[in-house]
C-alpha cells in the first residue's frame, strides 16, 4: 500500500479529534476546582476548530471520490464528509451543554468519551468495509454506554447504562452474525465488491433477505426503529440529559449513514429498475417506518415526562427519516440527509432547553414547565422554535425536511407511506403544542414567576442561540443545504 496525501485528508477530522483528546487527557489533571470547566471550553472550542479546519482543508473532490483509501476500508466522499461535519457539530454543542452539568462538566473523562464516540461515528459514516464498519460502530457505542451510566451515584443513570449496554451488545452480536455470513457467502468484506456478488445473483433472494434481517437488527437498534426501540425511552429518561441529546441526534444519524451506505451499495438499492431484493428490503423497511412513526407518536401522546416525550418523538422521527431511505431514489437519499441535518439541530435545541431547565429546577416533568414564558422568556422562545420545528411548522427546518421526505415517497408512488406520515405529523403537532400550551398559557403555582427566574449560563445560551439560528437558516435558506445533501446523495447513486 502506497502512501498518498488523500489518506491523511480522508481521516483529517478523526486525526484532529484524536489530537484534541490527547491534549485534553494531558492538560485536564492540572485543572483544579473552578478551572475544571475549562475542559468543556477546550473541547467545544476544539471541536469547532476541527470543523473549520476540516471544511477548509479536508473537503473531498471529484478525484478523491472513487479513490480507494486504506485498501478500501474507507471512502472519502461527500456523503461521509457531510455526516462527519454533522457529528462534529453536534459533539461541539453537546460539549457546551455538558459544561454546567453537575457531574459530567467536572470530569475530563466525559469529554474524552464524547470525543471517542464522535470519532467512531465519523468512521461509521466513511467506512466501506464490513471489518471497518463493525470496528467503527463499536468505537461509537462503547463510549456511549459509559456516558449513559456515567453518574454512578444516580440509580436511574446506572440502570439506563446497563440496559443500553445489554440491548446494544445483543443487537450488535446479531448484526455481526449477519456480517460473518455475508462475508462467507460473498467471499469479501468490501461493500463495493459485495455489491458485485449480490448483483450478479450469486446469493438467492431468501438468503440475501435473511442476511438483511440479521443486519437490520443491529442498525435498527442504533436508529431506534420499531421493534428495536425498547431501550430508547428507558435510556433517554435515565441517562444524563446532555448525553441523551447526543445519543438521540448524532448516534441516530450515524446509524442512518450506515444503513444508507450498506444497503444501497451492498444490497443493490441503486439499480434501476429495482431488483427483487431491493424491492423486498425496501418494502420491509417501509412497513417498519410506518409502524415506527405511528407507535412513536401515539405513545408520546400520553407522556408526562419531558425526556420520555422527546424519546418517543425521536422514535417517530426515525420513522419519517426512514421514508427518505426506502424511496431508493436520489431525491429520497437527499431528503434523508436533509432530514437528519434539520433533525440534529432541532432535537439538540429541544434537549438543550430541557437541560437548562433541569439544571435549575431539577425536574423533567412537563407540568413543572408551567409559567416558563415568564420565568425565562428566552428559554421559552427557543423551546417554541424547537418544538414547532419538530412538529414540522414553517419557517423552521423541520417543515422543509418533512416536505422533501414526503415528496420522495410520492415520487416513487409510495403514496400510502406519505399519507401515514402526514397523519402522523398531525398527531405529533398535538403533543408538541400541548407542551407549548403549558409553557405559554399556564401559570406557576402561586403565580410568582418573577421570583423564580431560570438563569441561562453562557455556554447554554451560546449553544441554544447557535442551534436556533441553525434551525431558521435550514428552514429559510434551503438551497445550499439541499445542494450539500444532494452532493452526498449522488455518491450513492452515480457510478
Amino acid at each position: 500500500m502506497r502512501y498518498t496525501s488523500t489518506m491523511v485528508m480522508s481521516i483529517l477530522p478523526e486525526i484532529l479529534l484524536l489530537i484534541l483528546g490527547i491534549i485534553l487527557l494531558v492538560i485536564e489533571p492540572f485543572w483544579k476546582g473552578d478551572k475544571r470547566r475549562n475542559a468543556g471550553k477546550l473541547t467545544a472550542a476544539g471541536l469547532f476548530v476541527i470543523m473549520a479546519l476540516s471544511i477548509y482543508f479536508g473537503r473531498p473532490n471529484e478525484s478523491t471520490m472513487d479513490e480507494v483509501v486504506f485498501g478500501g476500508m474507507i471512502r472519502f466522499d461527500w456523503l461521509a464528509f457531510f455526516f462527519k461535519m454533522m457529528f462534529v457539530f453536534s459533539a461541539a454543542v453537546t460539549a457546551l451543554f455538558m459544561m454546567d452539568h453537575e457531574i459530567l462538566g467536572k470530569r475530563g473523562e466525559s469529554y474524552i468519551m464524547l470525543l471517542a464516540a464522535t470519532l467512531g461515528m465519523n468512521l461509521m459514516a466513511a467506512s466501506a468495509d464490513l471489518v471497518m464498519l463493525f470496528l467503527a460502530i463499536e468505537t461509537a457505542s462503547i463510549p456511549l454506554y459509559v456516558l449513559a451510566g456515567f453518574t454512578v451515584a444516580d440509580k436511574k443513570s446506572t440502570e439506563s447504562g446497563i440496559k443500553y449496554l445489554l440491548f446494544g451488545a445483543m443487537t450488535t452480536a446479531v448484526m455481526l452474525y449477519g456480517f460473518s455470513l455475508l462475508f462467507g457467502f460473498a467471499g469479501t468484506t468490501n461493500l463495493y465488491a459485495l455489491a458485485d456478488q449480490v448483483v450478479t445473483g450469486q446469493l438467492p433472494l431468501g438468503v440475501a433477505l435473511g442476511l438483511f434481517l440479521l443486519i437490520v437488527v443491529g442498525l435498527g437498534f442504533k436508529v431506534a426503529i420499531v421493534p428495536f426501540h425498547f431501550w430508547a425511552p428507558d435510556v433517554y429518561t435515565g441517562s444524563p440529559t446532555p448525553v441523551v441529546g447526543f445519543l438521540s441526534t448524532a448516534s441516530k444519524a450515524a446509524g442512518f449513514a450506515v444503513l444508507a451506505r450498506l444497503f444501497i451499495i451492498g444490497f443493490e438499492g441503486n439499480l434501476f429498475p429495482l431488483s427483487d431484493l431491493a424491492y423486498s428490503w425496501a418494502s420491509i423497511l417501509a412497513v417498519l417506518a410506518a409502524i415506527t412513526m405511528t407507535l412513536g407518536n401515539l405513545v408520546a401522546l400520553k407522556q408526562t415526562n419531558m425526556k420520555r416525550l422527546l424519546a418517543y418523538s425521536s422514535i417517530a422521527h426515525s420513522g419519517y427519516a426512514m421514508i427518505g431511505l426506502v424511496a431508493l431514489t436520489e431525491l429520497g437519499m437527499t431528503s434523508l440527509v436533509f432530514y437528519l441535518l434539520a433533525y440534529i439541530l432541532t432535537n439538540l435545541a429541544a434537549f438543550g432547553t430541557a437541560i437548562a431547565f433541569e439544571r435549575v429546577t431539577g425536574s423533567t416533568e412537563i407540568k413543572d414547565y408551567a409559567g416558563l414564558s415568564r420565568r425565562s422568556p428566552g428559554l421559552a422562545i427557543i423551546m417554541l422554535v424547537a418544538f414547532l420545528s419538530l412538529a414540522g411548522m414553517p419557517p423552521f427546518g423541520g417543515f422543509v425536511a418533512k416536505i422533501f421526505v414526503f415528496a420522495a415517497a410520492v415520487q416513487v408512488n409510495m403514496i400510502w407511506l406519505a399519507v401515514i406520515g402526514i397523519l402522523n405529523s398531525i398527531i405529533g403537532l398535538y403533543y408538541y403544542l400541548n407542551v407549548l400550551k403549558v409553557i405559554y398559557l399556564y401559570r406557576m403555582e402561586g403565580e410568582d414567576e418573577e421570583s423564580h427566574p431560570i438563569p441561562l449560563t453562557r455556554p447554554y445560551a451560546l449553544g441554544l442561540v447557535v442551534l436556533s439560528v441553525g434551525i431558521l437558516l435550514v428552514g429559510t435558506l434551503i438551497a445550499p443545504w439541499f445542494g450539500f445533501s444532494n452532493e452526498a446523495a449522488l455518491n450513492l447513486f452515480k457510478f
Binding site: F134, A173, G184
Partner: protein
C-alpha cells in the same frame, strides 16, 4: 477434511444457545455470558470461512481478531456497569431494575 457445513452448524447452534441465554436469563452477568457465546459463534464462522474460501485473503482472520478484541472491551464496560448497578441497588437481576418503566 471436515466439511465447512459442520462448522457452520456448530456456530449456528452456539449462536442460538447464546441468544436463548440472553432472552431467558435474568442475571445481568449471565446475559453478558450469552452475548459472549454469540460473539464466539461469529468467530467460528469467520475463521471457518477464511480457511475454506481462500486462506491467502486475510480478511476473515483480521475480522475475527478484531471481534474478540472488541468483545473484550465491551464486556469490560459491561462488568463495570454491573458493579455500579450492584453498588446502588444490591442486585444484578435485570427484572429488579425497574425504576424506568412506562
Amino acid at each position: 477434511m471436515i466439511p465447512l457445513s459442520w462448522y457452520l452448524i456448530l456456530s449456528a447452534a452456539l449462536f442460538s444457545i447464546g441468544l436463548f441465554g440472553v432472552m431467558a436469563r435474568r442475571n445481568a452477568i449471565a446475559i453478558l455470558l450469552g452475548i459472549e457465546l454469540m460473539f464466539n459463534a461469529v468467530n467460528i464462522n469467520l475463521v471457518a470461512f477464511w480457511r475454506y474460501l481462500d486462506p491467502t485473503i486475510m480478511n476473515g482472520q483480521v475480522f475475527a481478531i478484531i471481534v474478540f478484541a472488541v468483545a473484550a472491551a465491551e464486556v469490560a464496560v459491561g462488568l463495570a456497569l454491573v458493579i455500579s448497578v450492584y453498588r446502588n441497588r444490591k442486585t444484578v437481576v435485570v427484572d429488579d431494575l425497574d425504576l424506568l418503566k412506562w
